[in-house]
Symmetry: D2
Subunit: 340 residues, 4 copies
């Protein structure tokens, strides 16, 4: 069995705990959280031992790999210590909100030839993955355009917003990675945001809506449309447009009921409500790929450099939204495990 | 120009008048209706001369063809006189509600080698026609099943119902023809009706719902589902199921708007309201085929025998609904212009 | 924990084993199969002890309930013995292919006030269940029509077909139960079958296509359309038509990809391939309901009488297909746990 | 009857000729084209007199209104002369490719209090119009985002491209008007273009793909996605996203056929091929509104200022694509008949 230590017993930590527990070849060894009862609650349900002390975990020679699902500010420290302890890592995005800190992290760990996979779960969604595979297989000819729609049903709580780094580093970061998954590297970024009238967003100095346009290295143009609210649920769509076709990821609903009445026909239900529903299978597939890539000796993908690259695009978007200028991405140095 | 005399200035007569007036190679010569002001209203809008006297029309040597769109009880008389006057005829369905009368009509006109096309407008609907063409072209392999859904938004007025001949002769007659359009001849018919609780239908001793099952000569099974009411509009669908695929005619809506809200997503508008909307293009194509078939010396299709065959199926359905037995269609004699 | 003994280690037995193993409050105690290595393979994966001897299982006082997922001819014996041993039972459909044997079974067990739930998994499908709930809640007014489409991707193997009891007892049985789930009792049945040209079906004297029409006790008309083949996958649809609306269960696909090219647009993938994919959630929900109904002291639903009633409709369909007559269902005696 | 003089007997002129001829209250008086046989071909089909001399038309006191559907470089001259002759005008877009010339035109005609309606046909499309009406009616709450997709099936011929003014002035101009139709005035514009590898577009120094982002006066963000090619037909979609819902204009197809096979399911046909098909009803409605607005003494909408405003946005897009900067639209002076 593949024995996994999990850092973080919150919402996303629980998602990973379930993936580990339901995997045929893996089991939880530790759940580590400074709030021990939170760790205990997870181990009660999914197995493993609860612990508050990080060193206790990293000293356990029986741990095959580490999942970092703790709050963002702890990522760099846990990642660095895990790598130094010789553990392969699956780290939730973002590595950090501060690009300089990310680069220092890499400097600190590079000598260990780290095996770090980033938790960009959407790359493992069966629908997006199928489209990526078909694009790569030439089904739509040269890729000319990409359209990513990503709207949350409701804004996160005020305290989360305050520490989130803003819409681009917190929410669009997934879409930046998705853009790179399809386009390869990005050469230019432009962004518009709209604050409008949601009081909690205004209080957090954060945007309600954002539109980001990116140019890919091969000329394809990509738009990302974000909103912190969407009454119909978690709006997660994608369109890849090419010379010989277009592939579209439609929204998904809890059932396939279609209602017909006097006012509307063919009406589906609201979209799957949020990421726990929409990306349930993606998290399972992500963990499975983590295990398999390690077992088969493959590189981590998406890797540390992918995590860094998404953050570079977020920085560029912040700058563009502030200045109105298109920001060139001239200098995203490739590190060893970039896999865009 | 192809000069057309129209019998009947009612709702369906006006549909034909517009088809004639908008056809580049045709024009209305006469509109004949015992209610002269009704005829006048049509000629005011679409051209031609109003008249109440049938003979006046049939004596006009400049009339190239006749359209019979008058009430059903007048069809046989007008058809017979028009044929004897040497005119090609486009006759609205049904020929008559009484099969014996239909057969006598044929006996009376057969010697004139009549050119009679039946107004089964749905055969000319672009969607159904496309499916028929693809089935004939082998797109779905051997045809194994056919499903026809046909629901009216509201029942007709009481006086119409009283003279309609019942749901099978009045409403299902179109579906019987559609079944023959796909299956060729039909060998067995079974029918269920449901009266339920619509007072105007109970008063007319007519059904609210009907389900008819037919077996085609090649073994394909067909179901027809009818309702006299449908809150979402005019429900007109068809599915042709075969060994290598299925072709479906979906309902149509006035616009392509899709609405997404808190309760429903992807909601379309109610279906096109009734046959004047849904089959607008079909009536135009039907008249165009009438002109072209005549000009090119082709046989009428659908012809008199198709009109008779649909009535035979209606009779069988009436019998089956009454007796509970499957009724064999053993003896539908082919007359010259059957084109199923 | 709720301890379950499973009879039958074949395909459907494995489905149940997984449901038990993944249920938070249940665990497998025994997997019983005359082919011990088959039982062993299941216990290796899902827990419990493998055994070939039925008595060994029924004598175990620690078994809370029994699931019968063995071949059909063994159902009556296992059900009878399990009930006599005082165990609640979840039994796969059908109880037996022979109605007389079913009735004798009931006679034999009635005194024990048996708690028997039938494995009509489709009642637990989230889509069908949602529609049933909305119909019951009045969303579409009086229910006037029901249309069930059920097509398998491929026929079963020849040896299965030979023992299957024919399409109505083997395949349509699910649809008969679904009809009863919506209509309540059925008063009349009519059936057409088509043999056509699939050699394995002809060899088994079985139908390729079937159309069954049923009349519900409140007058609603229901059609069931079956096929032993469907190139697009497992075609599982339903439409409930009422006075104020229509609810439709659309087919489901593995992803939400829609492809647009030069020839087709908006194209989805083939339907979920077969029942293991399509009804995965339904089996989980079915077992969960089994546990909950027992814990909460509710009656089994669907119960033994529902299993019997579906078989009565299958018998009627066999007779109708042979004679061409509509068969009245005059005398389906209600036993205690009918829950249509 | 409302008597109309038509300038221009080319493709778009013929569209207008048909709208006039089929309108119950209007008729063609003149078709004016320097190529007299072209004018003759139109009058042969739709009525009116052919003529090459513009003055001959403008001196005819019996002409109630003028439609300008001639090549773009002639618009200003014909518009100016028609206004001076006291005629209401329906003028095809764009007024001119040169904004300074447009402004001089206005200076020249303003004193005549001109009644000039611009031929932005898409405002009259039933689907877009329905969405606009529902947005205005509050169906989706505050409008936060607008997404316009507009892709032509194939690039125009080389000679057309050479004189077209580039993708923004030629093609996106319709989308700029649509953006203003929903957003009201626009305050900022950003544009990306992609040239890629279509030789005819490279030869014309024109873009293959373009993405334009606009900010509306109330903060709503709008993206326009254009392509000079689309294998699936004329891709014309729109999404209006608001606080309480989203309204979407889906593509339209020639029939409602949906095909299901071994590889794809629910597949529709390619989109309506090009603007003559897609906007057939829009042209009819546009002309009808022209007649009605005049008869009812309403202002022209969209008017001259709307034509100018769309051109201003095109200029801004050209500048943004060249400089990479977001271009503010600070100074679009409102003239009398702007109706955004």
């Amino acid at each position: 069995m593949f024995r996994v230590a999990l850092f973080g017993a919150g919402r996303i930590g629980q998602v990973h705990a379930r993936s580990v527990a339901s995997h045929e070849e893996a089991e939880l060894a530790w759940v580590c959280d400074p709030v021990l009862p939170a760790a205990q609650a997870v181990t009660d349900r999914y197995g493993g031992r609860p612990v508050a002390d990080v060193d206790r975990v990293l000293e356990d020679g029986g741990v095959d790999a580490v999942i970092i699902a703790s709050p963002t500010p702890t990522h760099v420290d846990l990642l660095t210590r895990s790598v130094r302890a010789g553990r392969p890592v699956l780290c939730e995005k973002p590595i950090d909100l501060d690009l300089a800190r990310v680069d220092r992290c890499w400097t600190d760990i590079a000598e260990y030839r780290p095996w770090v996979m980033m938790g960009f779960n959407r790359r493992f969604d069966p629908t997006f993955r199928r489209i990526r595979g078909r694009v790569a297989g030439g089904d739509i000819g040269a890729l000319r355009g990409l359209r990513i729609t990503s709207r949350d049903p409701e804004p996160p709580p005020a305290e989360y917003l305050a520490a989130s780094g803003g819409i681009f580093r917190d929410m669009t970061i997934h879409d930046f990675d998705m853009a790179r998954y399809f386009l390869g590297e990005v050469t230019e970024v432009h962004a518009f945001t709209s604050e409008d009238d949601r009081p909690e967003l205004i209080a957090a100095h954060d945007a309600h809506q954002a539109v980001v346009t990116l140019r890919g290295v091969d000329g394809a143009l990509c738009t990302v449309t974000n909103s912190r609210t969407c009454v119909s649920g978690y709006d997660q769509r994608l369109e890849a447009f090419g010379d010989t076709g277009m592939l579209e990821a439609a929204n998904q609903t809890p059932t396939s009921v279609r209602a017909h009445g006097a006012a509307v026909t063919g009406a589906a239900e609201p979209y799957l409500h949020f990421f726990l529903d929409r990306y349930r299978d993606a998290y399972v597939a992500e963990f499975d790929e983590f295990v398999r890539a390690l077992r088969e000796g493959r590189e981590a993908s998406p890797g540390f450099a992918d995590g860094r690259a998404a953050l570079v695009l977020a920085e560029a978007a912040v700058e563009s939204a502030a200045t109105g200028r298109t920001v060139p991405i001239s200098s995203v140095p490739h590190t060893e495990n970039a896999t865009a």
